[in-house]
Point group: D2
Chain length 341, copies 4
Amino acid sequence: MANQDLRVGIIGVGMMGADHAERVVHRTAGARLVAVSDPDTARAEALAAGFDGVRTITDPLALIADDEVDAVIIASPGFVHEEQVSACLERGKFALCEKPLTMDAESALRLVEAEARLERPLIQVGFMRRFDPEYAAMKELLDGGELGRTLVVHNVHRNKAVPPSFRSEMIVRDSLVHEVDVCRWLFGEEIDEITVLAPAPTSAAAEGVLDPQVAIFRMAGGGMATTEVFVNCQVGYEVRCEAVAERGNVTIGLGQSVFVRQDGRYGGDVPDDFRSRFGRAYDLELQAWADATRRGEVVGPTAWDGYAASAVCEAGMESLASGRPVTVGLVDRASVVGATR
Amino acid sequence: MANQDLRVGIIGVGMMGADHAERVVHRTAGARLVAVSDPDTARAEALAAGFDGVRTITDPLALIADDEVDAVIIASPGFVHEEQVSACLERGKFALCEKPLTMDAESALRLVEAEARLERPLIQVGFMRRFDPEYAAMKELLDGGELGRTLVVHNVHRNKAVPPSFRSEMIVRDSLVHEVDVCRWLFGEEIDEITVLAPAPTSAAAEGVLDPQVAIFRMAGGGMATTEVFVNCQVGYEVRCEAVAERGNVTIGLGQSVFVRQDGRYGGDVPDDFRSRFGRAYDLELQAWADATRRGEVVGPTAWDGYAASAVCEAGMESLASGRPVTVGLVDRASVVGATR
Amino acid sequence: MANQDLRVGIIGVGMMGADHAERVVHRTAGARLVAVSDPDTARAEALAAGFDGVRTITDPLALIADDEVDAVIIASPGFVHEEQVSACLERGKFALCEKPLTMDAESALRLVEAEARLERPLIQVGFMRRFDPEYAAMKELLDGGELGRTLVVHNVHRNKAVPPSFRSEMIVRDSLVHEVDVCRWLFGEEIDEITVLAPAPTSAAAEGVLDPQVAIFRMAGGGMATTEVFVNCQVGYEVRCEAVAERGNVTIGLGQSVFVRQDGRYGGDVPDDFRSRFGRAYDLELQAWADATRRGEVVGPTAWDGYAASAVCEAGMESLASGRPVTVGLVDRASVVGATR
Amino acid sequence: MANQDLRVGIIGVGMMGADHAERVVHRTAGARLVAVSDPDTARAEALAAGFDGVRTITDPLALIADDEVDAVIIASPGFVHEEQVSACLERGKFALCEKPLTMDAESALRLVEAEARLERPLIQVGFMRRFDPEYAAMKELLDGGELGRTLVVHNVHRNKAVPPSFRSEMIVRDSLVHEVDVCRWLFGEEIDEITVLAPAPTSAAAEGVLDPQVAIFRMAGGGMATTEVFVNCQVGYEVRCEAVAERGNVTIGLGQSVFVRQDGRYGGDVPDDFRSRFGRAYDLELQAWADATRRGEVVGPTAWDGYAASAVCEAGMESLASGRPVTVGLVDRASVVGATR
């Protein structure tokens, strides 16, 4: 397949899927969009009409099975992920599945087990921060060893505002999940224990919603991480990360590229949302996924990463309810995926 | 007294006391150093000889009692503070007492009670960060109300290295105590509960020393604070603070004044120790203390602040040992110092 | 052509051409590398062997004439540009020509005239800074009008070091030429007058080389620009630009994405060379060129921009020799390319 | 005198003189304000009434002659400086004279000559930037030699707005004069040649006023400096300086101490005027002046510095009128002040 363009199908063409369609067509080398699927057929057709040679296939499982489709991007709602990822595994199709992998750790584990029975891994989970140039540089610096062992990581993750329907647990499951993946990846270790604390909420949050929240992770190797998640911060989309190692520390997300002085103030723009902040990361994620897929490999976050993140978030939601530390009970990785993967 | 210079005596002329002597003589308007006292008489005499008209008085209580001394700076070791502060209260002498006010919350409370029986307060405790221009600007901004209520505060407090004799509890008592005061002051509330957690320690720490540590404060009004204290960070002296409010956030301590590009790197110096970082804060603290004392007032951190900080740190040391949240049991303030002070 | 991949040929596979080959193959959507040409046949073959389906064509004019080649990237030495660009114009092939367009303003003007006789423009000149996200954001901000008219632009352009063969005039022709284009583009006006001044040279420069240099541009509309070019600055590759407008100013190039504190210093890396600083700009330039070419358009810097830059640099070299302001005598644009282009 | 407070008289209690009065009384150790003088007697009396023990003396020459006055701060309008400084020299009184030293280079030179005939220097000129911690750190770094010889200096000097009465030449004489002193001091060399250029003016400037202006200095040792002065920049008070040396460069004035994120923007305040930006520099200047005066020395900018700055500004105003470089014709320093001073 390496000599030919990768033929991509996309399931779900809401905001995220439509973005990915643009990405595949206009910003990814060696990939071609051939089919899209969405329960909202009109939406799928409107999107397909904007490109050359893109078919709509109503049934997502038919898209997965389609001979012309080499690989699938799953951007549908989380509750259909398990079925769609399973279908990809059955058909031997590579898939990039947006997070969450599934709706709970148990079902995610079933996918991990199913994939483990195959000859090679097929699933990449859409934790795109690993492809952000700043996070990637930080990881490289930490892995380089010059700063010594990583001891503590501090994260800040803030959204300008969320709809009133956004509930307290979604802060853990949909927002904090990114830091769960980031910390697992930066430390190269699982999270053993999570505590999620809630200070008195902002008046900008809907009645009863605990926002902001402060989470503490204890890593398997003894490291620790703090994360503030604040989804109604009013300012903009702020994501920062500081890793503190034995001989120095690294911070990303200070974001000072275009510096304006005006009206008695210096500074610049805080991005409005994750698409402007991480647009480049998504582009790089897709290019890396297309490149790896053409080589028959998975290089990004794996199904295991999707499972582990779910398990940590479930423990986090329990901690948010109880206010106490909760142990994360992951199954033994080697016994599921084997020692060599 | 307002028309005349304030005549100052200093007890203890180690590093801190000697610095204060320089400050009084060379950088404080309206103050005059008249006497110093130190158990190491030679050291006191050497210091006195460097200035004009400064006597040495061997007995610190005699210095406090001396008619020529209007006000006293107590820079002696903590275990003699209670006796010396008591003497100041008895003699009606204003005093600036370096932290800790005393060695434990119980004795600190005795001083609070003794002062409360006087006509007016006399004691200021040396939490100099309140006088740092950056912290002061942050406090002013938060109090201005434009950003709304303060929800969360994040602190980082790192020293380059400490001697091997520095033990785990000292990280709470001697380092974290500054953030205890900062958070009480920024929120304008007491700390209700403290948790001190210890990640796997850096290899740069002495055997058995838990360094770094991560502390969580719950404020009386529901706010929350996180603090990383790391006394062997190898980099330099790093103190940063971010206050997150309902409509915006403020960060200080990023410290980019002189910006150098050299050898493939841009950046600047991280201060070596607290004296370079907070030298200006000490100068401003002393000027403010001298000015207020000449007016017969106390404007900085009070004896109560010294007591409350001790009580929080005691709870913090208990939490460090147990790994669990510990409630801070302060006595009722109004019942001790009255409602009007 | 819009429905199919753009088939690209590259002439010259030295450092720049080889980079472009990588870009076309691995980072450009909708483009395919089909042929390369280089006088060093072995180098061309080695490069072609690294990709699928790329032919080598020894004669660059044959590559241009090849039916399988839709568009050409000219990355050969400047002295063969005139012949190769002419051939593209004759064959009606779109071309992205690395700067300089030709070796002097006179020959560049001949290309402008030749292209003007065609039905549509075909030539884009490789001033890639216009595609750099920071420069692009600055341009957008200035054009948005909120800051008012641009009055003065300050540029800094520094290289770590150049080989001893790099002569004083090359600083004008090969380095300053980028700021010539940037200022023409930001102001949207021609440069009327240029002065190039030489302070006492750095000891790091080769004997007789005037490095650094300071250039002053007077724009046709009365604006002004200062530029420091310093090609042996020892630090790294530093490119900064500040535009001062009537109601505010914008600075780019401060570059603080990954922030490290280590060994008593805070800061980050200064890029080593233009490839790391402007790698992304090159990627975006190629994507935009491929997209526009498939639509039959030219959207980047034009042949006229190449001509005007040459004319300014010629005046600049004259000024460097004389130490005096030199007027830039451009031909009348409308009389050459017409009023509608 | 070293054992006693320096008794200071201030001539001129407009904004600057009143600020200095505050400084002497409340922020300068070892100094005492004893007398003030102002043609507006009511203003002088109102100010004196705000302090203890300050007399008003209507005649400034009487203040200078007064036995109780050890040293004089001259904050009167520039056109009376020559007479008042002369009186100080005659009476052997130390003086801190706000810039300009006098109204032209010729009269300034007469003061230099008069002072040279005395046993020791008495005059310090109020170029306070030398006492600003950032400028001082930059000077120390450059003098340290690690970065090699200084090659080029770039300055930016912007005011929010000036009254309509502010004319083009005042930009040179009252604003640019600070960079004249800064460059002479940083390079440790005289300015040999100055060019002052005027881009098309901002619409915020009064009719006929050339604002902004761009000045080029050629230093005696071959170094060069560029300075943009813009007195109606609308933003705030911006002063930045970058020194480019053979092995690195230093920038000051980026000013990021309190960092706020709010309303989609990150950043901080640009100071409103020179008093907030350089308030600390004035404090340090006065303390250093008081300390040196008590020791019988002059440590800051000298009468010669005042003369040289005037001479450069006169040449600058000539260049502004002609648009051409103008040579600065300083008298031979050694022949006037001797080789040993």
